[in-house]
């Protein structure tokens, strides 16, 4: 029941999960301890193939690392892929050109060497992935080909090596026809062979209990999926390790961190922790001198959690930011009135607030943060998180821009439903668009379109009562009207829509819905729809998601009708006709 993958020192290695286990690898843990020694020095002189996932964090990481590589003189080939099949395709196409490969935000959770067809010993793979849990075969790999660029956090609980790998004791049946020569009786009256037999039987029993324990251990390890530190922060540290960090790299890392916050990949306390480390970087680089006008200056300050408010009017922004919309229920007349009431309470005249931000009076602009963090807003209208610690950049005499807007613009550039651009082109455009000095407004306009679309969907869901309680789940089927103009087709942007739907749904529906997991079905194209599994309470704080495991079982049962290609396992493609089968299986598994 086991596949042979390699022979190391004459020993067999583990492949299948259900398979029998073997001698543990000699060089067990493959983590990068020293960025220069273990990573950079092993790529210098070779060309590097970079294969990335298509999400905002990958865009930022690529920006930082490619700037570093350019100054170090490391040649690289940049490829981006949206799923496992594309990863394999791209790898097969380009692997003859180099034997060093860097995987960004892909490949951490799967057995990389297996997927890529057991490449020869000289090929090294560096994985920089924020998906967790890490596949144990990547972590403990005997050939030493896979190196993970990460710092293990306490909650990861990777099982110890002897809990997973062990030598299988020889089969008792094998030695039946053993030598009959030593029939000499020993002190206990049993002959040599019988003693050996009992020994072997005892060993075998120990072994079977160990296998059961191992299965259970692996199951609990892989059950919950979550995200760890954004890869761009590691990118920044690598650049810092090579003394090549500068403000632009810090800004890219900030955008990635904001992305993790907005899309619910990181809980708020973690965000604050990482934000303060980034702030330390900023202080270090700007070294106390007053920076001249022309340089990029980044400040960590309290800012409004309103999407795109600097490029829109404050009123429009209030009406589209998911947090405000869901809490105040502004899709209804009542909610709308409440919003106006709040503005009146704060002393913001409606005429001012409806104007473009740049035309608002300077006094009001300066008071906005104070107003929105005041007691009135926090207590009466239940909006405690309207002000958060964010980063604002300014350069020259141009208007300031904050990380939230840049993140939304990058996301919009990545996910733009333009039929003329391939996904790779969009990825490269997003990387270019992140350039601080030439920040183009096009991304911002697209982000506005994206937010409007999200709000339309939520409005439709509430008005048409698209939420159905089925068993322990809450199903939401979004209408087909969005197929042609859909910003939310892939895991990079779906959480924005999904968390918003969940929050709004709970506010519009029953209180008890807070405890249920949600299943959102987004039309993808004529044949498929995207099934997205959302944990209860995901909109409030990033939680561990069990849906990847659940969907993996469903894929096992439904086979061809399900495409589970993406690196984020909580979203899969299901054939439109098999909707009912899918729902039934899901309910059956939840028992």
């Amino acid at each position: 029941m086991f596949d042979v993958r390699d022979m190391v020192n004459g020993q067999w290695l583990l492949v299948e999960e259900e398979a029998v286990n073997c001698i543990p690898p000699t060089s067990a843990k493959m983590l990068v301890e020293h960025y220069r020694r273990d990573f950079i020095e092993r790529i210098v002189g070779h060309r590097l193939i970079i294969i990335t996932n298509q999400d905002v964090d990958a865009v930022c990481t690529v920006k930082i690392l490619t700037t570093l590589f350019k100054t170090e003189g490391i040649q690289y080939i940049l490829l981006s892929c949206s799923g496992l099949t594309e990863l394999k395709e791209k790898y097969d196409e380009y692997n003859s050109q180099s034997d060093r490969c860097l995987l960004v935000n892909c490949g951490g959770t799967i057995d990389v060497l297996d997927l890529l067809g057991n490449p020869p010993r000289e090929k090294l793979f560096f994985i920089l992935d924020y998906h967790r849990p890490l596949n144990i075969l990547n972590y403990y790999n005997a050939t030493g080909q896979v190196v993970i660029i990460s710092v293990l956090e306490s909650e990861e609980n990777i099982p110890e090596i002897d809990e997973i790998f062990r030598e299988e004791p020889p089969d008792s049946s094998e030695e039946e026809d053993d030598h009959d020569d030593d029939e000499a009786l020993d002190a206990n009256g049993m002959n040599e062979r019988q003693r050996r037999k009992t020994e072997r039987r005892a060993q075998r029993q120990l072994y079977t209990t160990w296998v059961k324990k191992r299965e259970h251990l692996l199951f609990t390890y892989r059950e919950h999926s979550y995200y760890s530190r954004p890869s761009a922060l590691y990118g920044l540290e690598i650049a810092w390790g090579m003394s090549r960090d500068d403000m632009e790299s810090v800004w890219s890392a900030i955008v990635s961190l904001t992305d993790s916050l907005v899309l619910g990949r990181l809980p708020r306390p973690k965000y604050s922790e990482y934000a303060s480390t980034v702030n330390d970087h900023i202080l270090r680089i700007s070294n106390a001198n007053q920076l001249p006008r022309d340089c990029l200056k980044i400040r960590f300050e309290r800012d409004l959690f309103l999407f795109l408010y600097r490029h829109w009017s404050v009123y429009d922004s209030l009406k589209t930011t998911p947090y405000v919309v869901s809490t105040l229920k502004t899709w209804s007349q009542d909610g709308h009135r409440k919003l106006k009431q709040m503005l009146a309470h704060l002393g913001l005249p409606l005429s001012e607030v409806k104007q473009k931000y740049a035309n608002m009076s300077l006094d009001l602009r300066r008071q906005l943060v104070e107003m929105f963090s005041s007691q009135v807003v926090v207590e009466n209208y239940k909006l405690p998180d309207l002000v958060f610690g964010s980063f604002v950049a300014e350069i020259g005499f141009r208007p300031k821009f904050n990380a939230l807007d840049v993140q939304l613009a990058t996301l919009a550039l990545l996910e733009e439903p333009d039929p003329n651009k391939t996904e790779e082109e969009r990825f490269l455009l997003a990387v270019q668009g992140l350039d601080v000095r030439n920040f183009e407004k096009g991304g911002i306009e697209k982000a506005k379109g994206m937010m409007k679309q999200v709000n339309n969907q939520v409005q439709m869901m509430v008005e048409m009562k698209l939420v159905q309680e089925v068993g322990p789940f809450l199903f939401v089927q979004l209408t087909d009207s969005m197929i042609d103009f859909n910003y939310f087709k892939r895991p990079a942007g779906i959480p924005l829509l999904a968390n918003f739907l969940q929050h709004a749904g709970i506010r519009a529906g029953k209180k008890g819905w807070r405890q249920s997991p949600w299943l959102i079905m987004i039309p993808y194209d004529q044949e498929y729809f995207v099934a997205v599994g959302v944990q209860p309470g995901a909109f409030e704080q990033a939680d561990k998601n069990i849906f990847p495991e659940v969907f993996r079982c469903i894929k096992g049962k439904m086979g061809e009708d399900v495409v589970a290609d993406w690196f984020d396992g909580w979203a899969i493609l299901v054939k439109n006709q098999k909707r009912q089968v899918f729902a039934d299986l899901l309910l059956a598994l939840s028992e």
Partner: protein
């Protein structure tokens, strides 16, 4: 030999400047001279073009030349505004060097905004002195003048205008003379005697 401003910038890059490298490499044997060895954290003097190249790759930090500081520039500015003569500038290509450094890495220069203003003030002061000198020159109709301590960049700034306009003036004078001679040919002897020669 007339040089353009870009060519002068290029020539200015030969000036020596100090840098703080962020990397280690042994001596480089270049055609124009040897550079190095570079050690992290130890300042080293290199030509400006190498410094700018390395700084662009984020491999070093440029240590501002002693004269590109606020106090030093203020002294120069004071002298320039008070005295009718040109002072000797600390660097023969002060304008080019300042421009190149500010373009690439203003964050390496402390109080860069103020220094930029001061350099511009010094430049304006010198240019206005130069223009006044030229005006005087043309008025007096002199044929030569001696000016000390002009930098090449300033010369380059007036070069397109100055000889060209002198030539125009010369041509006007010649035409006036010729016209007068022509008309004087038809006039009396007294008038002819009074004509300037």
């Amino acid at each position: 030999m007339s040089l353009t401003a870009d060519e002068l910038d290029f020539i200015a890059q030969e000036e020596e400047v100090e840098i703080m490298p962020k990397f280690d490499i042994p001596t480089m044997w270049l055609i124009t001279g040897d550079v190095g060895p570079f050690e992290v954290g130890i300042p080293i003097k290199v030509p400006l073009w190498i410094a700018l190249q390395l700084r662009g790759d984020n491999k070093c930090n440029i240590i501002t030349p002693y004269w590109l500081t606020k106090s030093s520039m203020e002294k120069v500015k004071e002298f320039e505004t008070k005295s009718p003569l040109f002072s000797k500038m600390p660097s023969r290509h002060y304008m080019s060097v300042a421009k190149l450094i500010f373009e690439l890495c203003p964050e390496d220069v402390p109080e860069a905004d103020d220094i930029k203003l001061l350099v511009k003030d010094v430049w304006n002061a010198r240019m206005s002195k130069l223009q006044a000198a030229i005006a005087l020159f043309i008025e007096k109709g002199a044929s030569w003048a001696k000016v000390d301590n002009l930098t090449q960049m300033e010369m380059c700034a007036i070069r397109p205008f100055f000889p060209h306009s002198l030539e125009h003036l010369h041509r006007f004078r010649k035409t006036i003379q010729a016209a007068r001679l022509h008309s004087a040919g038809n006039a009396s002897l007294e008038v002819r005697r009074q004509l300037p020669k």
